[in-house]
Symmetry: C2
Subunit: 222 residues, 2 copies
DNA sequence: ACATTATTGAACGGTTCCGTATAATAAAAC
DNA sequence: GTTTTATTATACGGAACCGTTCAATAATGT
């Protein structure tokens, strides 16, 4: 789905470069502006002209790169998911006891999910999933499912190292992440003033710790 | 005009009834139509005229009852929250062992939250919360917070009856409900084909049971 | 110089929709 | 009947915005 046009800045091939070259940087700028508009005020409220203005580009250029408003939205979602994948790739947290590792993982998870942009992204994405199911799967694969796999893997290693005793690590991972999110997830999505909230929220530490406590009470090797 | 016939007949007060009386039934019908439009296709995509047509009412009548489109939306949310409050009022589940009661509660919760209408309601509401925070609190108070209080209360009684041993029942309630929702919550909101999904989903029983298992393993009276 | 492609700015047709206004009609009390 | 209010159908002003078109300009090649 990516570049039908040659994306090379330098005339590497040197054989086919006729006329004014495409400014490849503009696509990324447009996507950035689109992200800002789409995930702050929503798809319907966003206008292509406003996005183009924010990107410092003509509206025609936007339509030149992206087929339609919907295509631009899908591209913006894909881009955001790519960013998410990168951000979630640094989740090693190899040091310390199993308890320390789990708490660390939990706090990282909360810090990542509770950000303004993530909350808004989730909100506006969920609505559009209704008449474009693919973007929902895009998000699931880039975010929640990856996180779940990562935590399951962490638990697998701990089991292998004899630190934990778990039959079904995927189920256990779901237990832990579910407890960590808890009610706070809903409060964040429907509560007032997400911009003013501290990230992570004051109760996050207590919530994560108590979740890990309960988790270890059941899954520690006796 | 409509062949619906007048629904109001009795001049109850009999002292102040000048001119054609207001058809009080229409407000509820309008709200029903508004709910359908708003929570199926979203606020921006809904048009007052379409809502009026669905309700079998003139557009002017809609504006006669509700100040603006936003006011109508807020009223629809309020109405839906009232319905939710009623639906969540029958949560006795007094019989059986503590394990049976918790599983029952969990399955009821899943069945209630996983419905199509609820998922769509949540989606479209979350978006509008961004520039109307009050409706978010309306929902939180009618739904999640009520459910949380109910579960906490259930736990309190179990503790009092000597069935469980819990320091912080509110924290414990958050643990349990969090585990019950688990990943499935995200899968439902961002996954494909919510209309085709079975309610409760096939894995719900297993998820609820394993959550209650883990919960009881830690909180049972030794 | 020239040819070729990218980009811009402005304008246009078409659509949708909010909120209001107006004239006509319906349903009650007197 | 008359009076009074609710409701309808229709139309309108105004705004927003999508996607396209066109002429003019910019940036690269030969």
């Amino acid at each position: 789905m990516s570049g039908k046009t040659s994306t090379s800045i330098k005339p590497a091939a040197a054989n086919k470069a006729l006329g004014r070259p495409v400014d490849t940087a503009k696509s990324a700028i447009i996507l950035g502006a689109a992200r800002h508009e789409f995930f702050n005020i929503g798809f319907a409220q966003s206008s292509i002209e406003s996005i183009a203005a924010r990107a410092g580009v003509s509206k025609v250029t936007v339509y030149n790169r992206f087929k339609s408003k919907e295509a631009l939205f899908a591209a913006a979602v894909g881009n955001e998911c790519a960013v998410m994948r990168k951000a979630l790739s640094v989740e090693a947290t190899a040091g310390g006891s199993i308890r320390e590792r789990l708490v660390h993982f939990g706090m990282e998870m909360v810090a990542f999910l509770w950000r303004d942009e993530m909350v808004r992204f989730e909100r506006h994405l969920a609505v559009e999933v209704e008449h474009n199911p693919e973007i929902g799967l895009l998000f699931l694969d880039a975010g929640p499912r990856r996180l779940h796999k990562a935590l399951s893997h962490l638990l697998d290693e701990a089991v292998e190292a004899g630190e934990l005793q778990i039959d079904d690590t995927e189920q256990a991972a779901e237990h832990l992440s579910g407890m960590i999110k808890g009610l706070a997830d809903l409060e964040r999505r429907f509560g007032a003033n997400i911009s003013q909230a501290k990230i992570p929220d004051p109760k996050a530490k207590k919530r994560v710790n108590s979740a890990v406590d309960l988790f270890l009470k059941s899954y520690s090797k006796s």
